[in-house]
Symmetry: C2
Subunit: 757 residues, 2 copies
């Protein structure tokens, strides 16, 4: 793949759908209207654990405007959902309550208000059970089993080298236990779906979602219909961050069952409280960590024991467990590693996918350890990281060796250069404590050995030379639509304004799995690249016939086919496309792109798991008001190796957005439970960062060409979260001299620590 | 392609969408509703020719409920539509009126009634011109030019051998001039479209239509948008028969322009009168014909001069001209042929595609000639046909030689067998005249050399083993959806209930051109066959891994993968599909299928034009009431060589439906013009056959394997029209002894002829 003379890839451009988005024309699921549309509202358990004795819908059914109240008996299929085995979640619970947000019945009425009133009027009798609310209780052998197979959702070990030997040889050891809290995705658009029964025996579900194919499978199963009768269309989606996977399936099934039963369109749109209580959170974690080193700073061994609170259902706990396991030792060359990671069930809102997938939690712990080691050794923490930083040819914790695109040291060096130019802010002021922190991180790109990594993409060139691109991965705001447009434009030599990237639906491309793991640009972009290349071949062949030259003499650029030797000889692309059509050359192609096979041992977690890693180094300067604990971030540098920035503006957006989520996790956000019930299920009491909390993030793009991505690109969606969460903790420690082991580190925590000092 | 042991192909099954259709659940375009939807109604010229002086919309705009009144100035693009070059029709006329149905303005309002009132309130000033209303006037050198290049739309010659020599050697010559009338398609659902502006910068047009890709191109051009921004979805379509090509483009453009301008959904639904006046008809024809033979019945030469009245715009006149030209000499081995065919412009509703495409007209003339020749020679007319009937290895009029699938003689023999068993009804009754007629016919399958013959199809297998099929050709009632389902089911070894054939849209498959020329089963079916075969390969590969056997040992049938040697060893297909998905085998494929290249000389019309012909022989027994002229069809046998009947029930439906259209053309239907204006634009005055006119058609299926079609199939959509029109005329001639040279032969025509006798 030539990366010379790129015209479109590498240029920072606004999102291709920016106009629709800023004018409000873009239709989100909640904007959709269908004649006769009804509204669904779920009756939830309201207590964290219990046995359901009865669900009486008669009173609710009598209320005005109510069309139906569905219970589990109305579900034609198995009444089971879940991301992957174990499929352990009912669509509507009928016997056991495992968390307060458990849906028991769905009221359907001609307005949201009527549906909500009806849901409240459902008479539910539940015998409460003592809820299991923490990891240790869950793990006690005699604890009540939340699920039949016990309270361990998933438990895995990673073993590299001999960690005992490593610690035996250590000259210095640091050890600590870290905690992180549940975090809410807090997308601006709560979860919404509309199911529309078709006149053709099919059902179409428009969803604010992340993984339409996943949803389709569950809806079909629960409707007891062939999957080919169900079409899921991703509506414009106002953020997801991993949060609209399980829940979109749940409400997608509910809406579809209601729609088919009533033969009317049914919308379910969560309120904010439902969104927080009734959909997955980021796993709270407890991480015991120790690191062994020599006095020169060489890391010999690292060991971590991680517990994740998975809440009531498995959701993505298996994947998050794996990601935590694989990333726990950090982006370093560590010969001996032992990581154990266990996700457990508790009677709380379930945990699942959230941008970073376990990596922010372990990166916070690992990077805290690095700073603790540097302090112990009295070394420059950045230098310590550089000394141990992973390089091309060295093995990761899973034993995977990349020969290319290991840009960690470049990100460290870019940060090191910059810190020479910027003084750490003046210390010694009466009121302010100043601190500078560092973090390094890596994050695996692609599903890799965790699943199957396939993406379908189609590229269709019309006779007017315009291009329609379809991909099986969703743009939830991250800008992948723009990246796909740029790649197609680059390959086909057309301008971006001639490209349309259409909404994802399950009918028109291969099941592409979930849109996760920062894989859109890398795996999805490669699919677009390949599909466009096939169509390009037709255009070049046609142009060579028209220009009477060899195919190698044809260049497509700026909507023209150009004779390479004499660029003044050129034919407008629409003429070429029209001629190609009438000559019978194919102008549409559907690609099935599959990431290279992972060779991986699921026992030891050794092997080649991902097609690439994103590497990063962050620097943060902040100051803390001694009197109030208020933290002001003064500077935030985030250097990331993205292989190739297809759209540098988009990379900046991803880094800034990810940074804010990491900052929220590190400083502001904490789900508060009381007796298993969430106490702050609203944006007043839950401290989601607002526009005023925007960080002064400066993105430093490092491009270490990745051979597995289109034009060398690799993803950057998740990595900034981990980097920012970790760097904040280290900067606060630098400012205060206090090592905080629990996220979030809130203003009151800092104040308390300072007072204790 | 093995045709042994077929399980699904060859079985007569009800339409896969029968349930939706008979329950009324199927949503036709007029059933669609969108919030805020407006309605468009066109103001038409009302006179057949004139110069437009002014169009004043102010009064119309002031009426209640009116949102806009569009004129040509509101069309962002070139304001031109048309099937193919010459693109000669405006979307909204601004200068010249060429026929009474010319649209001048579109009123858009919040109800159809309000829009209609507003359209009537548009003040139009037109300076009338003397209309040109017949072929001879149009062809006069000094006639006013209806279009800038004159009044000849398209004119071509077919030359095979030396026709003069043939006539010089003749022992007998018959010669006559035949006329056919304009015919209305008379589908039950008039033309309807709804254009919906999307929130994503795109426009979706739902259309009752035949050729969505064609429509898309014109809408995009007239909106001045890239084609990739326009999506056309075929709604359930209640008949088309060629009639929803041009007009769907016209109203599609109008609705889309209005929808984008007003940013609201806009529906245009024709009333019956608009449907008749404002969309194309079957060409009226005048055919001068002579046939030269020997006394033994050998045909030496045939010559025809055909004029087609094309009305105001070109539409499909070029194609109809070609089809008439190519089929004029009939399905016979004729060494010398000269056919000239000319389509002309007149100031009448334009003529265009109509099931049969010129073949019914020339078949009526040609088969009348055959009977006239038989009478002259005193030969059995069926034997005369058999003696001259085309056989494998003999050249058609275009010089094309088929080595296979030339089943004409088989159809003749099947009819000959049957007539032995059935007496011609008792003659000599006082009141009734009895007659038996015959016709033979052929009809080219595929676009062939007339255009490009490509079809896109996609087949997607989900993890549950269900199958989604998409094809770029439309089912307008002919049952192709069922045929495609059967082919996919056969290839993939699944039951038909696991197959869904989705609505056609322009996003998801290759531009497949128009759905015409009886090519759905042959070319479209082949595309499905190929796409399904690709997916089958993945399933077989996976099953062979699971069954631990060679791929050749795996058979897919009845939703199982079966070990051929031991059929008790089998795995349910959903398990195979799920495993294939997770192993990374592709389960979706998009095919681009292209008919073999035609080698054709467009000067002489010699060469290989079609990939196959359908051949047929009809027999009709009828009786005529001497007193009233009433005709009763007593028996109608229609033997057709369809290569392979994928769905014999569907073949019967096509033959019965086509027969009724041919019967209407031959006996009942005539568009009546007065001063260029249609006088019977309604179903009371226009004699469309009703359910009471249903013929006692009996379909005799002949299967002469066609190597270019899936499982040997070839199309049957159009051929029965020609066969029935021709056989009716011959049966009437047999009964009355009067050769009628003008269609329709109505009751009053028969009565007048009998009285004259």
């Amino acid at each position: 793949m030539s990366t010379e003379n790129l015209r479109v890839v590498g240029r920072g451009i606004p999102k291709v759908d920016a106009l629709e988005l800023v004018t409000g024309r873009a239709k989100f699921a909640g904007d959709l209207k269908f004649p006769g549309m009804l509204y669904g509202y779920a009756r939830r358990a309201g207590i964290p654990a219990g046995k359901i004795r009865s669900i009486d819908c008669s009173a609710a059914l009598g209320l005005p405007g109510v069309s139906a109240v569905l219970t589990s008996e109305d579900i034609p299929g198995p009444n089971i959902i879940g991301i992957l085995p174990p499929f352990d979640q009912p669509v509507l619970a009928s016997q056991v309550v495992r968390y307060e947000g458990e849906s028991l019945a769905l009221a359907v009425a001609d307005s949201r208000e009527a549906a909500k009133r009806a849901a409240a009027a459902v008479r539910v009798t539940i015998d409460p059970l003592e809820p299991i609310l923490d990891i240790d209780t869950a793990l006690k052998p005699d604890s009540r089993r939340i699920h039949p197979d016990g309270n361990i959702t998933f438990s895995k070990k990673l073993i590299k080298g001999d960690v005992e030997k490593g610690f035996a040889a250590a000259e210095v050891v640091v050890e600590n236990t870290y905690h992180t809290s549940f975090q809410e995705h807090a997308y601006l658009e709560p979860e919404t779906v509309v199911a529309v029964p078709g006149g053709d025996g099919r059902v179409t579900v428009y969803a604010s979602c992340q993984s339409p194919f996943h949803i389709r499978g569950h809806i079909a199963a629960n409707l007891n219909l062939p999957a080919s009768r169900v079409k899921v269309v991703q509506a414009y989606t106002g953020g997801s961050f991993g949060g609209k996977d399980d829940v979109a399936t749940e409400i997608g099934c509910l809406a579809a069952v209601a729609a088919v039963k009533l033969q009317k369109p049914v919308m379910i749109a969560h309120e904010r409280g439902e969104s927080i209580i009734g959909s997955n959170l980021r796993h709270a974690a407890r991480i015991h960590y120790r690191t062994a080193g020599l006095k020169d700073g060489t890391i010999l061994a690292r060991q971590a024991k991680i517990y994740l609170d998975g809440g009531a259902y498995a959701s993505e706990s298996p994947f998050v467990t794996m990601k935590a396991l694989i990333h726990a030792a950090g982006p370093y060359h560590v010969p001996n590693v032992l990581v154990e990671c266990t996700a457990v069930y508790t009677n709380k809102t379930y945990s699942g996918a959230f941008r970073g997938f376990g990596v922010p939690q372990v990166t916070f712990a690992s990077e805290s350890q690095l700073d603790e080691l540097a302090a112990e050794l009295n070394m420059d923490p950045l230098q310590l990281r550089r000394n141990n930083g992973l390089q091309a040819g060295q093995a990761t914790a899973t034993g995977q060796v990349f020969e290319k695109s290991v840009g960690l040291l470049q990100t460290i060096d870019r940060i090191a250069e910059r810190r020479e130019q910027i003084p750490a802010a003046a210390p010694g002021e009466e009121r302010w404590l100043y601190g500078r922190g560092y973090s390094c991180l890596f994050q695996g790109i692609s599903n890799g050995a965790e699943g199957i990594d396939v993406v379908g993409a189609s590229v269709q060139v019309s006779q007017d030379g315009s291009v329609l691109v379809g991909v099986g991965l969703t743009d939830m705001g991250q800008g992948s639509r723009t990246v796909f447009a740029q790649i197609a434009a680059e390959v086909l030599g057309v301008t971006v304004d001639r490209i349309t990237v259409r909404q994802v639906d399950t009918d028109s491309v291969h099941d592409s799995g979930p849109t996760v793991a920062s894989r859109s640009t890398t795996v999805g972009g490669m699919a677009v690249y390949k599909a466009a290349g096939e169509v390009k071949a037709s255009l070049v062949k046609m142009a060579s016939l028209m220009l009477k030259c060899g195919e190698e003499q044809v260049r497509l650029e700026e909507n023209f086919a150009v004779l390479t030797d004499n660029p003044e000889v050129r034919i407008p692309l629409p003429e070429v496309a029209t001629a190609a059509y009438w000559t019978g050359f194919p102008l549409m192609h559907l690609t099935f792109s599959r990431a290279p096979d992972a060779q991986f041992d699921h026992e030891t977690h050794q092997g080649n798991i991902y097609i690439a890693y994103n590497f990063g180094t962050h620097l943060m300067d902040l100051r803390i008001d001694r009197l109030t604990g208020r933290v002001e971030v003064l500077r935030h540098l985030a250097a990331h190796d993205v292989g190739r920035a297809v759209n540098p503006l988009g990379v900046e957006g991803q880094v800034e957005g990810g940074a804010l989520i990491g900052f929220g996790m590190a400083h502001l956000e904490r789900i508060e439970h009381e007796g298993g019930c969430i106490q702050n299920a609203n944006f007043s009491d839950y401290g989601v960062p607002s526009i005023k909390d925007r960080l002064p993030t400066e993105t430093i793009i490092v491009e270490d060409h990745n051979p597995t991505g289109p034009y060398g690109a690799k993803g950057v969606g998740e990595p900034p979260v981990a980097g920012t969460a970790a760097v904040f903790a280290n900067a606060v420690a630098a400012a205060t001299g206090v090592r905080f082991t629990r996220l979030p580190i809130r203003r009151e925590d800092i104040l308390a620590a300072l007072e204790e000092q």
